[in-house]
Symmetry: C2
Subunit: 566 residues, 2 copies
C-alpha cells in the first residue's frame, strides 16, 4: 500500500493494527546515496566498529526517500502467511518557517540507479511524509512553549518576529521605515482602516510581500490599531507569504484567537513527527524486525527517525537494541551453513528464486484486498515495500528449511524458535569474509589478524616487489588498497604468531634492508609495514622504529602498533 | 523549448544558431539549495569579496537543476523582438562507471519551493543533460588515452579491470577463484566454448553478475580462449552489468574491435561534455548576457560547467570575465536612478508588471513557431526559461526607458548603447544598501565603514544596553547578528572619522568601564568591540588590548583591527 503525506493520517491506524497482529515485520529503505567520498568505501578488513564509523561519517548525510514495511501473520487454519506491505514515501519538508530546514546529500550514481528503476522522485519531494527525530520534536515543542509563555507575559506579538525567515536578522526593536516603502505601508494602513470601519468581513488578507515589508506592516499596523486587530502570517499555494488581519471585538476575543493559534502551532509540530510515529510503533511492539543486508538501513532508520547516531560504538549498539529489540539479517542467515550450501548467490532478488525451489519450500502468501497483489517477477524489485516483502519471504523460507532439519522437524517455524535465535541481533558485515556479523547483543567476535600487514610503498611498486619483500615468510596474499598501499596476508599464519617465527621489528628491518634492491627509491619514498591489528582504534599505541641509512637514497620506516584494548 | 537528454544533440545546432543571430542573451538557473548552513547567510555589511567567499563555500555544493537561456533579436522591419527561450534540464549523470560520480547537496526548503512550483524532478533525474567542466573533460580524456596506450603496449585487457566500480579494489594480478564460484565460472567457460564451436552468432551476452564475478570471468575466459574472443562489459536498462563475448577471426579483427571500442569510449566522453557546450557557445559568441540578481547564477554556471571556483577573489573576477565577457544584472539597473524612482519593487515577477506600464513601454515580442508562446500571466514563473525570458523583457524595457531620456531620444536601444554601458560587468549585491554591486572589470567601490562596529556581548543584553554603551557617541543603529553579537553604526559618522572625535582604544575602555553597570557580568562573559573595516580579510592584523579589572566580576576585551590592505 502506497503511503504519502496525502493518506498518512488515515492509514496510520491500519499500520498500527498490522504491526500489532503480526508475527514479525520486515523493512527496507531506499536512499539518496551510499558513500560521501572514497574515504568511506568499505574494506574487507574493516572491523565492525570501523564499519560503523565509516557508515556514520560517510552515509548519514544521505536521505531516506522510501521506507518499506511488511507485516507477516501466519494463519494456522490455511497454513498461509498474510502479508501487508506498506510503501512509505518520506521527505523532511519544513512544515513551517520555524521548522528544521534539512540539508542532505545525493550521489549521482544512486539517483541515476533509482531513476533507472523508474523511481518517482516527484512523489518523494511533493508528497513525502514529514518526520522529526525525538530530539528535534522536543526542541521544537520547548521553543514553542517558550514563545507562547513570552507572548502570554507580554502580549506583544509585534516584535516576536512571527515569520523571521532563515536570512532574517534577529529583530529586537522597531525598524525605521525606508523611504521607498512609506507609500506602500500607508496604503496598507488605509486598507486596514477601511476594513475596520466597514462591518461584515471577519478577516482581511493583505497582498503577498517579502519578509522585510511584512515586518514593517506588523510593526506599523500593530502600533496604529493596537488591540482592535489580530495579525497572522500565512503562505499561499505558490509559497508567497501574506498577512491576514482579523477583527478583534474584545480583549477576550483576542485571547481566544491567540489560544487557537497556539494550539494550532502545537498540533503542527505533532503532525510533523509524521513517519517517526511508525518507527515508534515498531519499537513499542517489540516484534522481530527482519531486513536483508540491513546495516545501512538500520543506520538510516535510527539517524533520520529516532536520534543522531552516537559517536561511541557501544552507545550505537545500545541505541539500536533500544529502538529495535529484535533484529534479524537474512543476508547473514543465507551466508551461514547450512543455508549457505544451497545458495550460490545471496543478492535479494536471486535469493528469492533460490528459496522458491528445493531444498527450500516457497511460503504461501496472501495479501488482504486493499494491498498490492505482488507478483514475484522482479518487476517491483527495488521498491522498498516489495523488497521488504521478499525479505520476509526469504526469512520464512530459510527458517522453515532450518526447522525441517530439527529432530523432530518443525514445519512452520515461529520467530522465537531455537533455529532463529542464533541469528537475532546480528548485522551482516558486507564483504568481510572473516567477520560475518556485528553483534548487537555481545562483544564482537574478532579474528586474529597478526598475519596481516598494512604496507605502504612507492607508486612504481608492483606485486612482485611485495612478494619479494615478504619472501622470507613464504607466500602472501595481496589486498590492494590503492597505488601506494595494500594489506599483505601471510599464507602461513603461524609465521606471525607469538611463537618462534614471529617477526620482530629488527627482522622486518632485515627483510627490507637485506632483501630489497632499493636504488629505485628516492629519499622521499618510504616503505612502511604495520601489523593489522584486529582492533585498530584511536586509542591504539603506535611505536615507531625508524632507520635511516646513510646516504639519501635509502629511507624506511617500520611501524608496529600495539593495541591498548588488546 | 524544453531540452533534455533526449533531444539535446538534435537541438544543439538550433541553440548555436539562436545565439549567433541574437542581439543579446538572458539566463536564469534553478538550483537545489541556497546556503549550506547559517554561517553562510548573507549580511547587509558583506563586502563583495566576503559575499563571494560565502557563496563559494556555502552554495557550490548545491546542484543546478535547470538552466534557462533566451536569445533576443530585434527586427527593425516590424519593430519587434524575436525571443527564443530554451529550458535545459541538466543532471551530472555518470555516463559510465569511470565517470565522475558527483555528490551534491539539497536544501529541503528549496526542494519544497520547487515542488510547490510544480517542478518536474523526474525530468531532471531521468532526462537531465549531462555535463563536465573543462577540467573534468581533460582529466577523463587523458586517463582514457593512458588506458588505450597501456592496452596497445601490452594487449592484455584482462587485467586492465575494465569495470572497476567505486568499491572495487585495484587489481594488479590474478585473483584466486573462491570455491563457491568455481561451478559458475566453469559453466561460463562451457557456454563460451559452445558459442565458439557453433558458427553463426557474432556475439554472446553472458548473464548479469556482480563486479567480482565479472572479474573472475574476464580472467578465466581470457586465459582459456586467448585471442579467439573479445570481451566487453555492458549495462542493461535495469543497471545490471553483463559481459558480451565477440568472436575474433584474426589478430587484425581483434585490433579493429579494440579500435572501435576505444573510439566509442572517446566519443562517450565527448557526449558527456553535454550542456557545457552551450556555455562554451555563449563564451565564444561574446554576446551580452543578462540576468536578474544573477550573482548566484554566475557562481553556479561557472562552477558546474566551466571550472572549480578559484579561492582567490581576483581570479574569480578574471574567470568570470573570461567566460562571460559582457554581463548585465537587471536587478542593478532596476535599483539605480532613474529606473529606481519608478519601481517600488524589483522582484522579477513584479518588475515585469512595472515595466509593462508608463513611464516604461512594454516591448513587443514574437516567438518562432516551435517555441513556447509564453503568456505574461505568472503561470510559468520560476521556470528557468520563462524567468530568463522576462529578464530579457525587463532589460529591453529599462534600456529603452533610459534611451528615451537621451537627447535626442533613442527608441530601440542596442546592448552597446552608452546608456547600457554603466551597468555592464557589475553584479548586484543583494541586501547590501551601501555597496550596490560587485565590479568585475575594476576595483570594487567600498564605502567608509569606520563608524560601524562589531560588538559581542553577553546573551542577556538587549538594545538599551547597547544604546547605553555607545551613548557618548550619540544615537546608533543596531544590526543584530545573533543573541550575542551585532553591528552597531553611529548615526553621526564623523564621530568615528580620523578627526578629533575618533575614539581611541582607551576611549572605548572608558565607555565600557565608565558607563556600564557591569555587576551582571561574570568573568567568562566578555564584551568586545571591533571597528568594521571595509576590507576584512584573513590577512588583517588584529591588535588586542585587554584590561582585566581586579575582582572576578569584571572582564572585558577591546579589540581593534587594522587592515593591512587598507
Amino acid at each position: 500500500m502506497e503511503v504519502t503525506r496525502k493518506n498518512f493520517q488515515s492509514v496510520l491506524p491500519e499500520v498500527e493494527k498490522a504491526i500489532a497482529e503480526s508475527d514479525f515485520l520486515s523493512v527496507d529503505t531506499e536512499f539518496s546515496g551510499l558513500h560521501a567520498s572514497s574515504s568511506y568505501y568499505i574494506s574487507p578488513l574493516d572491523t565492525p566498529e570501523e564499519r560503523y564509523q565509516k557508515l556514520r561519517k560517510g552515509s548519514c548525510d544521505f536521505l531516506v526517500f522510501q521506507v518499506g514495511l511488511c507485516t507477516f501473520c501466519f494463519n494456522k487454519e490455511n497454513n498461509k502467511y498474510e502479508a501487508r506491505p506498506f510503501n512509505f514515501y518520506v521527505f523532511p519538508r519544513p512544515y513551517s518557517r520555524a521548522a528544521p530546514d534539512c540539508r542532505f546529500m545525493c550521489q549521482s550514481s544512486s539517483i541515476d540507479f533509482l531513476a533507472s528503476q523508474n523511481f518517482d522522485f516527484n512523489k518523494v519531494f511533493k508528497e513525502g511524509i514529514p518526520y522529526l527525530t525525538s530530539t528535534q520534536e522536543s526542541q521544537l515543542k520547548d521553543s514553542l512553549e517558550e514563545k507562547h509563555k513570552q507572548y502570554n507575559l507580554f502580549s506583544s506579538p509585534a516584535f516576536v518576529t512571527p515569520d523571521s525567515g532563515a536570512e532574517a536578522v534577529t529583530t529586537k526593536g522597531p525598524i525605521n521605515i525606508p523611504e521607498e516603502h512609506k507609500d506602500f505601508i500607508e496604503g496598507i494602513c488605509k486598507t486596514v482602516q477601511e476594513f475596520l470601519d466597514k462591518e461584515g468581513e471577519e478577516t482581511l488578507s493583505l497582498p503577498p510581500c517579502n519578509g522585510f515589508v511584512r515586518k514593517l506592516i506588523y510593526q506599523t499596523v500593530k502600533q496604529r490599531f493596537q488591540s482592535g486587530i489580530h495579525l497572522a502570517a500565512k503562505t499561499d499555494e505558490k509559497k508567497q507569504r501574506f498577512i491576514v488581519v482579523t477583527r478583534i471585538k474584545s480583549e477576550d476575543d483576542m485571547k481566544i484567537k491567540e489560544q487557537e493559534k497556539q494550539a494550532a502551532e502545537l498540533a503542527e509540530v505533532e503532525g510533523a513527527v509524521g513517519f517517526s510515529k511508525v518507527i515508534r510503533m515498531i519499537t513499542h511492539s517489540e516484534k522481530l524486525v527482519v531486513g536483508h543486508n540491513m546495516f545501512m538501513d538500520v543506520i538510516h532508520l535510527l539517524h533520520r527517525f529516532c536520534s543522531p547516531l552516537p559517536e561511541n560504538y557501544l552507545e550505537f549498539k545500545a541505541l539500536t537494541t533500544c529502538i529495535f529489540p529484535k533484529l534479524l539479517d537474512t543476508k547473514l542467515m543465507a551466508n551461514t551453513t547450512p543455508c549457505k550450501e544451497f545458495l550460490p548467490n545471496t543478492v535479494l532478488g536471486d535469493l528469492l528464486k533460490h528459496i522458491s525451489c528445493s531444498p527450500f519450500e516457497k511460503p504461501e502468501i496472501v495479501f488482504p484486498e486493499n494491498f498490492p497483489q505482488y507478483k514475484l517477477d522482479d518487476s517491483n524489485l527495488h521498491e522498498a515495500a516489495y523488497d521488504a516483502f521478499i525479505t520476509g519471504m526469504c526469512f520464512i523460507g530459510m527458517s522453515n528449511f532450518l526447522g525441517n532439519k530439527k529432530d523432530p522437524p518443525v514445519s512452520n517455524v515461529s520467530p522465537d524458535d531455537s533455529v532463529v535465535k542464533p541469528f537475532t541481533n546480528k548485522l551482516f558485515l558486507m564483504r568481510v569474509p572473516e567477520i560475518p556479523y556485528l553483534d548487537l547483543a555481545a562483544d564482537d567476535v574478532l579474528p586474529n589478524r597478526e598475519h596481516i600487514f598494512h604496507v605502504t610503498f612507492p607508486k612504481e611498486w608492483k606485486a612482485p616487489d611485495l612478494y619479494q619483500l615478504f619472501s622470507p615468510f613464504g607466500n602472501v596474499n595481496i589486498q590492494w588498497l590503492d597505488d601506494t598501499s595494500a594489506f599483505v596476508s601471510l599464507y602461513k599464519k603461524e609465521q606471525s604468531s607469538s611463537g618462534v617465527h614471529h617477526p620482530s621489528p629488527s627482522q622486518y628491518q632485515h627483510i627490507i634492508t637485506g632483501k630489497r634492491d632499493v636504488t629505485m627509491l628516492s629519499s622521499d619514498k618510504k616503505v612502511s609495514i604495520i601489523p593489522h591489528q584486529t582492533k585498530r582504534c584511536p586509542s591504539s599505541l603506535t611505536k615507531s622504529i625508524s632507520t635511516y641509512n646513510n646516504g639519501q637514497e635509502r629511507c624506511y620506516k617500520v611501524k608496529f602498533r600495539q593495541n591498548l584494548m588488546h
